[in-house]
């Protein structure tokens, strides 16, 4: 892993190769991109931009999806 970047994913620090996109990260995490929302440095990344948006050192990502919930 040459030129690894350090990023934050759902509050955890992890390394990823430089040049990776949001889409690469989702594949690495085995996450179906159709079912998640991705927030990068507090801005939502449009699903069609997952393969375009490259990751940068220190990026903070939040990956969210629907879970069981009613009210609370």
């Amino acid at each position: 892993m040459a030129d690894a970047l350090q990023i934050h994913v759902n509050g955890q620090v992890r390394d990823c190769p430089s040049g990776w996109t949001v889409g690469d990260l989702l594949r690495e995490l085995d996450i179906t991109s159709e079912r998640v929302a991705v927030e990068l440095n507090l801005e939502i990344v449009d699903r069609k931009d997952f393969e375009l948006r490259g990751l940068r050192q220190g990026d903070r990502l939040e990956i969210l999806s629907f879970i069981g919930g009613g009210l609370d």
């Binding site: 996450i31 969210l64 629907f66 879970i67 069981g68 919930g69 009613g70 609370d72």
Partner: protein
């Protein structure tokens, strides 16, 4: 009965019982309860994906979004900013502009922060969301929510998860007379008669989670709620007799000895 469809913001719903997906034992129980309830709208929450254990099953493997209208909520949000953030994330994760907007005021009661609710609703509607607000049983707030563009309002029957039933039927009735949009009674239902009563009062639908998921037999309660909502709706449409203090004989006096 079957032509009696609920229409909100141009969307048609077959069922007047809407259900949450929280607090079930597992996804299979969730799936079965929802199927038995006949509901076609199910609420979901938006949370972080578990990135360390990807083996966990996904709710949407059990609740087919093609079959059900998925209604994401902003549960757990106590500020306008948080509610906006979660609503936007829900839209990005899903397929529609529908959002069940919750801005909570207090952890103990989970009562809505109605000032924050109106403010958040206004902003989200400008952004093109279809906002269904979880609100207090307050007719003035209900009217304000409609004025800012909410196509329905969701007043509570009682605190979330309390099972106390309709605490203030008179306020609910005033809300129904005050606003001309569908009223979905949301939260506080404990058992079937509570749901039937809400519908008899003239509610357009009832949303519940704990009353079904927390019952000793959630599947049986889901079925009970289906009947209760249908019975209450039919009784409302049929028009009940007036209450009177004294008796009125059902059998004729004529022909008696």
């Amino acid at each position: 009965m079957y032509d009696d469809r609920l229409v909100i913001a141009g969307r048609e719903f077959k069922s007047r019982l809407w259900v949450g997906t929280g607090k079930y034992k597992d996804f299979e129980e969730t799936r079965k309860a929802i199927e038995v309830s006949g509901a076609d709208v199910v609420t979901v929450a938006v949370r972080r994906v578990n990135i360390t254990d990807r083996s966990r099953e996904n709710l949407l493997d059990f609740i087919d979004p093609k079959k059900y209208t998925i209604l994401p909520n902003t549960a757990g949000c106590y500020t306008v900013e948080d509610a906006l953030r979660y609503a936007r994330l829900a839209r990005a994760a899903g397929v529609s502009d529908l959002i069940k907007l919750e801005v909570l005021g207090d952890e103990k009661t989970l009562f809505p922060d109605t000032a924050g609710l109106i403010e958040a609703a206004k902003i989200l509607i400008k952004e093109g969301f279809i906002v269904l607000p979880y609100t207090n049983d307050d007719p003035i707030v209900a009217k304000k929510l409609v004025d800012v563009g909410c196509p329905a309002v969701m007043p509570l029957a009682a605190p979330i998860g309390s099972g106390l039933g309709i605490r203030n039927p008179y306020n609910l009735k005033i809300i129904m007379e005050t606003v001309k949009v569908p009223i979905i009674v949301d939260a506080g239902v404990g058992t079937a008669s509570d749901a039937a009563l809400a519908m008899e009062y003239g509610a357009d639908a009832v949303l519940m989670n704990t009353a079904i998921a927390g019952a000793q037999d959630p599947i049986a309660m889901a079925e009970a709620m289906k009947y209760a909502v249908n019975a209450g709706r039919l009784a409302y449409k049929a028009g009940r007799i007036p209450r009177k203090l004294y008796a009125t004989a059902s059998s004729p006096i004529e022909g008696m000895l």
